[in-house]
């Protein structure tokens, strides 16, 4: 059994079927890149994994534990969902940093709020908060922002903001980190620094699902590539298979269009 198993996920918005029978799995330490044109359902799939959308049917299993099953409404209560979604981290296209908090506070806020629920919080308050601070600083050092701890989001560049967002997502130590087009809102000269950070995470065997339009990056960093079109997984395989020898006509067309646009 794989680390993550997504089984026959379906999702509609009104009459529009956005996801049709999505099945895939992911091993621990593996990096999956999801590619496909806009409107193919990539983002909706990530949002389903992060409980921002509720699939109409299907199930999600992490490490042998069912964390979502559309057939079992009792497992979908808000309090349950809150804990379960911590299996996943999500980095948004638009960063969504909290503007009124400093870079460091953005990274530590959620951990501090969660720590308050710990039984030993009152006794060890100081030590726990200290530990969260240190952890936050360490993560920000990892993404190369040690000199920006006390800056507010509007004082740093988009690339830096996205790196803060990555550190923030890592702070809760999710099993699987998801990226929703992490460089699409960035100027071309800023995408490099963000991709570098993600690449570094891949080298450290972070389990990741990356929705991206950066084909070279996907080819480079992913262990497996999933091509989606019109709400279905058309093709998946190693980067070599999908990029060099696509089996499906739709994949070929998509890649051809892409290569033309970027030549």
């Amino acid at each position: 059994m794989s680390f993550l198993e997504v089984k026959s996920i379906e999702k509609s918005f009104g009459n529009l079927k956005v996801l049709k029978n999505i099945d895939f799995s992911l091993e621990k330490g593996e990096v999956i890149a999801i590619i496909g044109s806009s409107g193919s359902g990539k983002t909706t799939l990530l949002r389903c994994l992060n409980f921002l959308e509720r699939p109409d049917s299907g199930s999600i299993i992490v490490n042998g534990k069912v964390i979502f099953d559309a057939a079992d409404p009792t497992a979908q209560r808000d309090s349950d969902v809150r804990r379960k979604r911590l299996h996943f981290g999500l980095v948004f296209q638009n960063f969504n940093l909290f503007p009124q908090y400093t870079v460091l506070q953005n990274v530590t806020l959620a951990a501090e709020l969660l720590a308050k629920e710990r039984a030993d919080f009152k006794q060890n308050r100081r030590a726990i908060l200290q530990e969260i601070q240190e952890h936050g600083k360490k993560l920000l050092a990892q993404v190369g922002l040690s000199d920006k701890l006390d800056c507010y989001p509007h004082e740093i560049s988009g690339g830096q903001q996205q790196r803060v967002a990555i550190a923030r997502a890592l702070a809760l130590e999710p099993d699987i980190l998801c990226f929703d087009e992490p460089t699409s809102a960035l100027d071309p000269e800023l995408t490099g620094e963000v991709l570098k950070v993600i690449r570094k995470l891949a080298e450290r065997d972070t389990t990741m699902i990356i929705v991206t339009h950066e084909m070279d990056f996907a080819r480079d960093v992913a262990d497996r590539v999933i091509f989606m079109d019109d709400g279905v997984i058309v093709e998946q395989g190693s980067p070599e298979e999908v990029f060099e020898n696509p089996r499906e006509e739709r994949t070929k067309q998509f890649l051809m269009r892409y290569n033309k646009d970027f030549e």
Binding site: F92, P99, L113
Partner: protein, 220 residues
Amino acid sequence: MNEVPVIISRLTESFLLNCRIFALTLVFSLPLGLVIAFGSMSRFRPLRWLVRTFVWVIRGTPLMLQLIVIYFGPGLMNMSFSWPGGSSGRFVAANVAFIINYACYFSEIYRGGIESIPRGQYEAGMVLGMTKSQIFFKVILLQVIKRILPPVGNEVITLVKDTALARIIANKEIIMMAGEYTNKGLIWPLFATGIYFLVFVGVLTIVLDWLEKKLSYFRA
């Protein structure tokens, strides 16, 4: 001319009534407005409909009429409830009318502010495992306050001057007091009341500017 200090002190004393209505109205209507705002955004349709109708009625009728209805209504309609007699009853009734009226205006400002916060802020909180109330109080609220400060400031300044309406149910506020001298042929006390309002609003403006500056450390 030796009546000048007497008149000034009586004007000052009556202006304190304006100040008390102002302070009490703010203390109660600012939080009450938030409750009404939540009602008007409720996913439960009947409640949302009820609250929005109420806000429509309150914003759609003159505050002066509301003061009269709230003060005289219970007695005229033979309700078992009645306001305490004398000046205390008139004062409480005036405050109730002001609080309801201003809470409705504030609620719409709040609603606009809350709905203007991008969806992504909520979603970022959710994927970080925050509860709904943590997201609202730790992430959303301060951003809302920053955004609504100018329109709320407008309402607060309007309130200063609206307190003069309390005279319609015989609360002896400053303009009513000055009017008594006008009836005796003395016009300057009436003009003097304008100075009281100007100074008060001047101080408020400084406070509001200061608050705005305090919140200028971030951009939202």
